[in-house]
Symmetry: D2
Subunit: 348 residues, 4 copies
């Protein structure tokens, strides 16, 4: 089989770097170009020191992109939506890692992003990038919008319960704890080590944009509310979502088990983690660094109808580059786990 | 004024060590004895290396305790309640840092601790140890039961809203993020550095004992539910509670402000933290290491009737030794902040 | 080609776990048995939660080991040397990760380990396990003793200078900074998170056993002294060695470059890291987590004849399991990097 | 006694903030003004959130400084030396925390700072700010230059050995491990949390400026060399110096003990830490956060004439603000420990 030629627009940031790492060892891929304006002309290992010795590719400019089979877009907010026509002319297939095309509905975009969408007609042409929910659509998709990291963690944690219409739509409270790489590669006083190290900081108690994705994917026609807050931690990679949902009618833990097994029993990248003993009884993000897993667990409150769902990912992998590559594999009918086999480290 | 003679039963653990640190510099206190069976006969700095050079006191045995004015109990679970008669014969005033006498109601104790109480008749003789709620009772109290750390953080965060009957009693969701010193000084595989460092671990998604204290202090005669989960973090000291409450009727942020100011405007150890800019807009536990503050902030969700309340303490201080000393000061009509003036460090 | 059957004796610790992770994805390997007495009968993922879903192998007992092509020994100190005859009867090739057979000389062993060797006649039958120094011997070796992690880091950093007889033999000072996984999986008060997290602790200012390996490999017949100290840090994985050597005669930086290039230019797992700008100008262990690299850099002091050599590894990989697998590949004439291709993560 | 009026020039950085924290609780001090250009007009707690509720002082501009008894200078490099005449007109006593006046010799300044000194005639009017070495001179000093943090740690560790002429002058190797607050409050890519957290980074293998201070204070007329390297760690506060010195003639550990006891037995802020058992056998910076201690310990290598000296401080305290206040107390014949009584926290 001929290799698939891919280019990466915006390859000096964290998600871009992670994607390059994966693409370099993907047996079906030939990387054609990687762009960065700030590292223009330099080796990609200047931006990604872990890749020293793995590639001699140098950064191109965005304006120099040539035709290829698939173009990954790892650009800053709003660049994709403004230049989407140009990118369509470069490659027949686009995978966008930004938030620009995640929402199908123009009004929702404007409500959460507080700005008009530059190409609203394109919104419905993108498949929302969580394979566990949209695998069939992806097989023939041209355009995929990779899901937000907090949204991915929450949605995969809650999907089996909402899909089966078991949850009170108004009461769900979700709290994510996130690592510092979520904020990207640009330094600021907020990320200055003496200020950020050891911190537990409420950075978005209300109004987080990823809520719109959760509602889009979990509402199933209902009027759903997700009461969401986000706290940053001292982690670098990782998202841990603790979701509190209230069942419409009582279910035993073993019934909930069945629903999760039904939903994810054959999924290569979702593991149900719920053990009786040991210290890793529930999902934990540090075990997932570098992997494409979303680990999901839960506990039923014996004193109420609350179910606490715990889900975890590596935000740069299942929350960005890994999930994008998973979608790529599906689009091209390649084994879905190709290039995503890394099991993660322990201890770490 | 004559110094008040105090002894510490159980002075080799973390809360005991913190208490000793405070007592050593308290101008009205003379420490008489400090007990530890495992460090018996050794200098207290063997257990608490920060106190090297600050004291020549050596550990006594519990059986050797002599009469004193105030006895602090920093013992393992169930020791206080089993030996309370003995401790009463040693000192007319007792301040117990364990969970044994926090609940006023015997049935509640048995429900949450899953064992019978060894001295249920004594339960109502203890004042629950949060001064901001029980200052008047403390002034003449003989026995004080210092509040749980997670309970203190949550209760102080939510008190102004619940006291004013503004909150839907069935919907409150509280998530605390805690440091590793909460688990005490005994090592285990769960606290082994390679396993615990960098972790974000759901250790008590449901069923945490401190919930009973929250209900006791916040229900005001209503049938209150607190849907509570606890997650451990890589911090050593600190608790951050993120509490999601739903208002019965809508309130503007400035009205909520007024309630918090009314409740805490004159409190020496509660600060309302809510700023428009900067990175420390909300309470953050790392700033509180070594201090007796509970910092409290909140954000009203503009899209719903949810208020997110953020509160933080140092679990060994406001959550244990510091709050115990604050109560001690109140009991003896000493300036409430005496020995508790440390402002905390930044950066840290 | 038929798969090579391998078993792992002592597969529940950190080095054993890392080795299993590597073996599971090695295309030429079939794992036959993995032993653990404490996890006997349980899934290997009980000890290594990162391997959930990757294998259904359950732990066997050491006494149950069956014949195989290669037996890896990841046992506690002194077990290998006491049972070496038994292990020889199980497999024609042994790779021992303990310190038992690292020293060729019985007297040296007794001097540094302060006990007699249980099988001194076997000492010279083992090849010392750093491939960059002993590749040719490994090709036909039956028994390999994997090198110590601190020794590997230091030796690879200094080898080009000592081999070329450029260094004053009496003056070398080496300081390693190590992660907590070096101490193994057993918890203790020293590794209790509140005590260990954030610490920088001199744990072996003098007398570290790995010095004997450094002298063995770097002395080239001279009377060499290595003045060595070790400090533990808050890292979990990683060793950083800062070695201060004093040149017998002055050399320019570009001459030193040449020596390192000559020594390591074709080595797949040694990278020379020395850049003029950026923040990763020198080797840094966090970039190496999960990889088999030893990164080496240096700086010549412009005011003296000192060269500061900086070298870094992942102690569980190039310092244990990874280097053992590299030796395995060489022994079997398999591509040396097989199963060791992971480039590491950034950021991490 | 009348209060001493003090002002702080440059009070928004880390050292300035620490100094303000100490001055606010000093019983003999009245703070007059604190300057910051970037926080001009704002409350000091905007820069130092730990001080919320402790003061209503707002920042003044440098140009607005009025006369006071003592002016502390916490300004950027080179500001003090350029404006020293102006500062002398504001206050009769100056305590400078920058590096501008640490070296007595103009040539040495130019050699290490690689620029001419703006006011070389003033260099000899400053007393070098380590009280343990210069207490008598401080008593009548008008101008004090607070010592560098790495220099303080190293000098206090080595002083008893060098003062007694016991050390080979050419062979000393010193390695300091430092926290991120040493680099100050300005963020950069090097301090960006995902890049800096978890790092162990050689930032100055050779050529560190503080070496000049060490030579000045430890040479006692000899031609001394200090072979120095610095590594940054994941700590925020703290310096750990591991110094390897080689004795001219052999000494037993108990003789070395005597020398340290002789030098520091009466010092309020130097503790000799050397224990036979336990995990805190040697100095450790994390125990010193917020304190003014320099803890010093050592181990004699039984196989050579090397002594490994381990010394630790909090760089913002004994390495900056605390030591400056200690000098202030000495200058004014106030009890030397006034305002510096905090014993530090454990665990932390």
């Amino acid at each position: 089989m001929d290799k698939i030629t891919v280019s990466v627009a915006g390859g000096s940031g964290y998600a871009g770097g992670e994607l390059i790492r994966l693409l370099l060892s993907h047996p079906n891929v030939e990387i054609k170009q990687i762009t960065s304006e700030s590292y223009y002309g330099k080796l990609i290992s200047k931006a990604h020191p872990n890749l020293r010795g793995f590639s001699n590719i140098k950064y191109s400019g965005l304006a120099e992109l040539e035709e290829c089979d698939v173009l990954f877009l790892c650009l800053s907010h709003a660049v994709s939506m403004k230049s989407i026509e140009k990118f369509k002319s470069i490659a027949p297939k686009l995978i966008d890692l930004s938030g620009d095309f995640r929402l199908q509905d123009k009004e929702e975009f404007e409500k959460w992003y507080k700005e008009p969408h530059a190409n609203p007609d394109m919104l419905k042409e993108f498949v929302y990038g969580i394979p566990e929910l949209h695998r069939e659509e992806m097989k023939n998709a041209k355009y995929i919008s990779s899901a937000g990291c907090n949204a991915t963690t929450t949605i995969l944690g809650l999907y089996p319960l909402f899909k089966n219409n078991l949850v009170d739509e108004d009461r769900t409270v979700v709290e994510v704890k996130v690592g510092s790489s979520e904020g990207g590669k640009k330094s600021s006083f907020a990320t200055h080590h003496p200020e950020r190290s050891g911190s537990l900081r409420s950075y978005k108690p209300t109004g987080h944009r990823h809520v719109a994705e959760m509602i889009q994917e979990l509402s199933f026609g209902k009027d759903l509310k997700i009461h969401f807050s986000a706290t940053t931690t001292d982690m670098i990679r990782g998202v841990l979502a603790t979701s509190h949902v209230f069942l419409k009618e009582d279910l035993a833990e073993k019934d909930i088990w069945k629903l999760y097994r039904q939903a994810y029993g054959n999924e290569p990248f979702v593991r149900i983690i719920k053990e009786r003993e040991g210290i890793y009884r529930y999902p934990e993000p540090k075990l997932l660094a570098g992997t494409n897993f979303c680990d999901v667990g839960f506990e039923k409150d014996p004193h109420s109808n609350r179910v606490v769902v715990i889900s975890a990912i590596d935000n740069l992998m299942k929350g960005a580059a890994g999930q994008a590559l998973q979608a790529f594999n599906i689009m091209h009918d390649i084994g879905e786990t190709t290039g995503l086999e890394f099991p993660g480290l322990h201890p770490i």
